[in-house]
């Protein structure tokens, strides 16, 4: 068995990201923080996807994360980034825990479309509630950190650094989870649920746990994006937002906890180029890429990355 180098790799990547957050130009920092947020959501999707489940409704928890930040802003006047970024996943996780009792009973397309329907329920509620700004949404307070307010540029950089650390923590924990018995149950469930039940474990519970995990991660992503952009609106919950997460998940592949973040960064690159060369055909680029990946590279870009690394490993002394 080859040594698992995920954790050192993640640590190095985080150092690089912290460097970017500290020194890179503003637009790049902003891009990075949005990618990290998206990567967190997709990390959760990946946990589900390994068990053969694709949520088309992670926008639900993404929006819940964002609106939790907004509501805490309004209700309590609190804007501490650390507090918000903990509260949002907690709320999202709680909701996922409740809905999970229902969703754990469903598989393949039924799971996908039901998750989607729940996202649409939230969308419907948000659009109609004037206290939450209806379709326009509302603005988020500038996040604060311990100590005096450091100014907008430094705030964005601090937030990005925080996001990088959260991403590291999440990736490391999910990595550990994937190596556990419950993590391995993903393949087991995809292969044969009856056997899992006959081994004495509840498939529902296994899926429920994965679903809650995914909800927590999406909530964290939503909170970070809300603070980075400074605004939230019901579009966060709409199913096309969830569709973007699905896109990134397929683009990235489920081979490693680093894949979702790589995928999220590639997504931004793709969007930037598409905006430059085919400004009105963004959906076509998305759809075309998705098709190409499903047909030609079903394990995502991570599998390319792995393939590229393999000869290196072989050369290294064992």
């Amino acid at each position: 068995m080859s040594r698992d180098r995920t954790l050192p790799g993640l640590a190095v990547a985080t150092l690089v990201l912290l460097g970017v957050a500290a020194a890179a130009p503003g637009w790049m920092v902003f891009t990075l923080v949005v990618s990290l947020a998206q990567g967190l959501v997709v990390l959760g999707l990946m946990v589900l996807w390994r068990a053969g489940l694709m949520s088309f409704g992670q926008s639900l928890y993404y929006a819940v994360g964002g609106y939790t930040v907004g509501l805490i802003n309004i209700q309590f006047g609190l804007s501490n980034a650390l507090l918000l970024v903990l509260a949002a996943p907690a709320v999202a996780g709680l909701l996922a825990f409740l809905l999970g009792f229902l969703l754990a009973r469903y598989r393949d397309i039924f799971f996908s479309m039901l998750t989607l329907a729940f996202a649409m329920i939230l969308y419907g509620v948000l659009v109609k509630s004037s206290t939450l700004g209806s379709t326009d949404g509302f603005s988020i307070l500038t996040p604060s950190f311990l100590g005096p307010h450091p100014g907008p540029d430094a705030t964005q950089r601090l937030l990005t650094g925080l996001a990088a650390l959260i991403a590291l923590l999440a990736a490391a924990l999910v990595h550990r989870y994937l190596k556990s018995t419950a993590g391995h149950l993903a393949t087991a469930i995809r292969d044969n649920e009856i056997r899992v039940e006959y081994l004495g474990y509840s498939v529902h519970r296994a899926i429920h746990v994965k679903y809650v995990l995914a909800g927590i991660l999406a909530g964290a992503g939503g909170a970070i994006v809300a603070m980075a952009i400074g605004h939230i609106d019901p579009e966060m919950a709409y199913w096309t937002t969830a569709g973007e997460f699905v896109f990134v998940a397929i683009l990235a592949g489920a081979g490693s906890v680093a894949a979702p973040f790589l995928g999220a960064i590639l997504f931004v690159v793709l969007r930037t180029y598409a905006a430059q060369y085919t400004p009105h055909l963004w959906h076509m680029v998305l759809g075309g890429t998705l098709l190409l990946f499903i047909v030609f590279l079903p394990d995502g870009v991570w599998s390319l990355f792995e393939r590229a690394c393999r000869p290196l490993k072989r050369r290294a002394p064992s």
Binding site: H184, L185, R195, V196, Y198, L199
Partner: protein, 253 residues
């Protein structure tokens, strides 16, 4: 001696079809029972009900004096009843070792096995030892989807036994295995089970196997038990000959 498993008046109807139509049977601790019966006699359906996969239409199932009727498989498994499947149920895309590791992981850990790595060193050792006792350790790193039928059957049985069940129900352990290999495989299985002092009920079509390994034989026909007793007596029973064994089969002495 009280029965380990006590089944009373068990029925299962699929629409108009009565797959099991009033089965009562008691199995004592440490017994090795063979179950015979022609295709569609209701043997698998019987096992499906005892292990909770199908809810009975009528009747009760008692295990160690406790009513377990209608409990789902995972609870029944937890109580000490395990089964193997007529068509092996394994995790096709995982390796043989991982198949067994998942089985052991579930057996060893509690409700939320989310922290301890699956491939702990002691666990791998235990898994390899189990594979060894079933004679399939050589396949450890192969994906289960590529296994020969006999090996797959053994893996299926090995996975069923990791909890050290008190009662093991084997559904045609030698079906799909060549005549030459059958005895060797049954020897392996029975040796492994004897070491664990497991009570065994096995379904089997091959009368030679039944005669060699069972202490007691139950014959099913059309959803009911038509004979129950020592192997030779049941196999020689004229009713059983007519409905199950067929005249042409002669058991080798």
């Amino acid at each position: 001696m009280t029965a380990l498993l006590d089944v009373r008046d068990l029925h299962k109807h699929f629409g108009a079809l009565a797959a099991v139509a009033g089965v009562s049977v008691a199995v004592a601790e440490r017994e090795v029972v063979g179950v015979i019966g022609s295709n569609g006699a209701g043997k698998t359906t019987f096992v499906n009900m005892v292990t909770g996969y199908l809810p009975p239409s009528r009747g009760t199932i008692t295990f160690r004096g406790r009513d377990i009727t209608g409990r789902p498989p995972r609870q029944v498994t937890g109580l000490g009843i395990a089964r193997s499947f007529q068509v092996p149920q394994v995790f096709a895309s995982a390796s043989v070792l991982d198949n067994l590791l998942v089985a052991i992981g579930i057996a060893e850990e509690g409700r939320l096995p989310i922290w301890t790595p699956l491939r702990r060193r002691q666990r791998v050792a235990r898994a390899l030892a189990t594979l060894e006792s079933y004679g399939i350790a050589g396949y450890a790193s192969q994906p289960a989807s590529l296994l020969p039928q006999g090996v797959r059957k053994l893996l299926d049985i090995a996975m069923a036994t990791v909890r050290g069940p008190e009662l093991l129900l084997l559904d045609e352990p030698t079906s799909g295995i060549s005549v030459g290999e059958k005895f060797a495989i049954m020897d392996t299985i029975m040796a492994a089970l004897r070491a664990q002092r497991t009570t065994v009920l096995f379904i089997e079509h091959d009368m030679e196997i039944v005669d060699r390994y069972a202490e007691r034989v139950i014959a099913f026909a059309d959803g009911v038990i038509i004979a129950d007793g020592p192997p030779q007596a049941v196999i020689d029973d004229p009713e059983v000959r007519r409905l199950v064994v067929g005249e042409r089969v002669k058991v080798a002495e």
